[in-house]
């Protein structure tokens, strides 16, 4: 039985669309896997020494234990967005003579070998080896390691339980932010009692039974949930909620663009994938924190310019790069209707402009880092509106990968809407703002650098029609190819 399942699994893996995409993508995926795997191992090995260096008075295992809770919450958050229980696959098995229990065990077992479980494995295994080399007690380290892995699997199964429900997630994240706040302002350190608990796990190896009991309980809960829903109208069919229509009449002021804008707003609000993009683009707002807080970048204004562009450009880049692809599911309809490409493109452009403006307003707290930084963000926003938007739309026009709107993107199992053209087109997006700022900065001064970056954006806005017409011709030329590519079933 298991052999049969594994055989199917192997076929699914080797015949999946991402394996049949180009060699270039395969190589990049392998590189990405090596990179992430390697990075995890490096972190694992380095963790011990870094902790020694930063907090020489504390035992590294204690330090790690104190922070483990944040790791797990982060893991839960990442999994929530990217990992889904592969439910749809069980449909063809429902009517064949296989015990339902066997299918569910297999399904749940399968999730334990997901990418998300390898990351903690690759971090904590080397860390544990370092501990052993450093002469820590064998039995303690092994039990601790197994417990940590068990907790990771607990997160794995917890995710499936809460994945269907957003409120769970939001309450967990708000509690998390509350505790981070309390921790930062030294009001109450949640990491201490939980750290104590994890330390106890290390000190008393027999406590290893606790995480395994928890794991067992969560597994049982998942099992019974799926068992109960093992009918067509149960867990595997998606619930159709009652919905209200969105009139969006106030958008009519945009004239002939309104019709497209309204649809785009509905597209974003009503589909899983664009919603995911929207959330991800929110994270870009915090990108500046990485750069502005580090002294190392103080003297590298080109990197600061780059980071500033990212702060307001999250939505623009993540949404914009898939611009015709978002409409791939009904592209034939659009092509047989009387639709001016230019209006279509212009509506997407307005959407990006709004997104950049909103991000810019939301980025005002960066004033904390001074007017120079905020000026950079402003100039970056103008660059985004005027140039980056068109570069992104141009890249999108060359991208002919269909997107499944209401399916969440999954890490490494889905290269949906990703191709090498995308990578090439990303280069000017990243390098251009750096050059536009850096050259005048080197020749004249900081202010002129900002001015040039901002002016480039203004220029783009002035020549908007020129750019839109150029992109329009690409659309027209590629029409048949695009229709054919979007019609391809995955």
């Amino acid at each position: 039985m298991i052999r049969l399942f594994l055989n199917l699994e192997w076929k699914q893996f080797t015949r999946a669309s991402y394996f049949q995409k180009g060699v270039a993508i395969k190589i990049m995926l392998i590189f990405a896997a090596i990179y992430f795997g390697g990075a995890a191992i490096m972190i694992g090995v380095g963790l011990f020494f870094i902790s020694k260096k930063i907090m020489p008075n504390m035992d590294p295992i204690t330090v790690i234990n104190n922070f483990l809770i944040y790791w797990y919450v982060l893991e839960l958050a990442v999994r929530f967005f990217l990992q889904q229980l592969p439910v749809m696959n069980i449909k063809p098995f429902m009517v064949v003579p296989i015990k339902r229990e066997a299918i569910i065990h297999y399904l749940l077992g399968k999730t334990t070998i997901s990418f998300f479980n390898f990351i903690p494995f690759f971090i904590f295994l080397p860390f544990s080896i370092v501990l052993l080399v450093q002469g820590y007690s064998f039995i303690h380290v092994i039990c601790w390691f197994l417990s940590v892995m068990a907790f990771s699997l607990c997160i794995n199964f917890t995710n499936f339980l809460i994945n269907k429900n957003n409120t769970f997630f939001y309450s967990i994240t708000s509690v998390l932010f509350l505790f981070i706040g309390l921790e930062v302002y030294n009001v109450f350190k949640i990491s201490e009692p939980i750290g104590l608990a994890f330390n106890a796990l290390y000190d008393q190896p027999y406590l290893i039974v606790l995480p395994f009991l928890l794991l067992f309980a969560l597994y049982k809960k998942n099992f019974s949930d799926i068992r109960k829903g093992f009918y067509l109208d149960g867990a595997i069919s998606k619930k159709a909620d009652k919905v209200d229509s969105l009139e969006l009449n106030w958008m009519n002021r945009f004239g002939s663009l309104a019709i497209f804008l309204k649809n785009d707003v509905r597209l974003i609000l009503r589909n899983a994938r664009p919603k995911q993009v929207l959330m991800m683009s929110g994270l870009f707002l915090f990108y500046g924190l990485i750069f502005y807080t580090q002294d190392a970048y103080k003297d590298m204004p080109a990197f600061l310019a780059f980071a500033s562009m990212f702060v307001t450009g999250g939505f623009l880049m993540t949404f914009g790069q898939l611009v015709p692809s978002w409409d791939s599911e009904y592209y034939k309809l659009l092509m047989s209707q009387n639709i001016p490409y230019k209006k279509y493109l212009e509506s997407k452009w307005y959407l990006m402009v709004v997104a950049v403006s909103v991000s810019f307003i939301l980025s005002t707290p960066y004033l904390y880092f001074g007017w120079d930084i905020f000026g950079m963000i402003g100039a970056g926003a103008l660059f985004n509106i005027g140039l980056n938007s068109f570069i992104t739309l141009f890249g999108g026009a060359l991208n002919r990968v269909p997107v499944e709107l209401n399916v969440k993107a999954k890490a490494f199992s889905n290269t949906n809407g990703f191709n090498p053209t995308q990578m090439l087109i990303a280069i000017p997006k990243l390098v251009l703002p750096m050059l536009l700022f850096y050259i005048p900065y080197k020749i004249v001064n900081f202010q002129v650098g900002l001015l040039v970056l901002a002016l480039s954006g203004v220029l783009g806005i002035v020549f908007r029609n020129f750019f839109l017409n150029k992109i329009e011709t690409i659309y027209q030329k590629g029409k048949y190819k695009t229709v054919a590519a979007f019609a391809e079933k995955k």
Binding site: V243, S245, I259, K332, M335, S336, N338, L405, N406, Y480
Partner: protein
């Protein structure tokens, strides 16, 4: 109305469609039948300029379809689910199509109201996205959307498939009425010989991409078609 000349479509060396000449006059209800792979959908896709002809061309109301886009305002189609926007409700979808075809909300409401019988209470006011409707109901919404904006040419691919018997009967009325009363040129394809002989004045049989029969519908047509396909 629609003139097809020397039209062919090849994928690599594989010819999927080859129509030397086909003339469809205005106001005709035209049926296309043929087994799977006969080229029905290919022909419709060429009519809508969704694929490029290898040779020849289609002229729709004096407009060369693969060179000008001016056929779009008076031509509409429902080929498959990719003509629906899954995340809209039926009403929103109708208004969207209406707006593209220069109709305001009142126009669309008035038109759609005529089809309440056809909808059977399962389309309007459902508070559901189109993607959550059943296949048959999706088809109903798609077909009616193709009638918005007074098109002169309506193309429906397999309109009877997935519909329940009541709706099939009502759809037949709608199609007959379109051609007879309003002078609309209706092109449909179907695997159901009975429906198609009932609805269409003229039936063309495609086989491996070529026209093998071109019949004006009469009492004997159904028998003749059945004999052909049995055979």
């Amino acid at each position: 109305m629609i003139t097809t000349s020397n039209l062919s479509k090849k994928y690599n060396e594989n010819e999927v469609l080859n129509i030397e000449a086909l003339e469809i006059p205005k106001g005709q209800s035209f049926g296309l039948v043929g087994n799977n792979g006969a080229g029905k959908t290919t022909y419709f896709s060429l009519l809508l300029d969704l694929i490029q002809p290898t040779t020849g061309a289609i002229i729709n109301n004096d407009i060369l379809v693969n060179e000008s886009e001016d056929w779009k305002p008076f031509t509409s189609a429902f080929i498959d689910e990719s003509f629906l926007i899954g995340y809209l409700t039926a009403e929103e979808y109708f208004y969207f199509i209406g707006e593209l075809r220069g109709q305001n909300k009142a126009d669309v409401d008035a038109l759609v109201a005529q089809f309440s019988n056809f909808f059977h209470g399962e389309i309007l006011g459902q508070k559901k996205y189109l993607r959550d409707l059943s296949k048959g109901n999706q088809k109903k919404a798609g077909i009616v959307a193709a009638l918005i904006g007074n098109p002169e040419v309506v193309i429906l691919d397999e309109p009877f498939a997935n519909l329940d018997p009541t709706t099939q009967i009502r759809l037949k009325e709608i199609i007959k009425n379109l051609a007879k009363a309003k002078g609309v040129t209706v092109l449909i394809s179907s695997h159901d010989l009975m429906h198609v002989t009932e609805v269409c004045e003229r039936i063309v049989v495609l086989e491996k991409g070529e026209v093998v029969k071109d019949l004006a519908t009469s009492e004997a047509t159904l028998k003749e078609l059945e004999a052909h396909f049995a055979g």
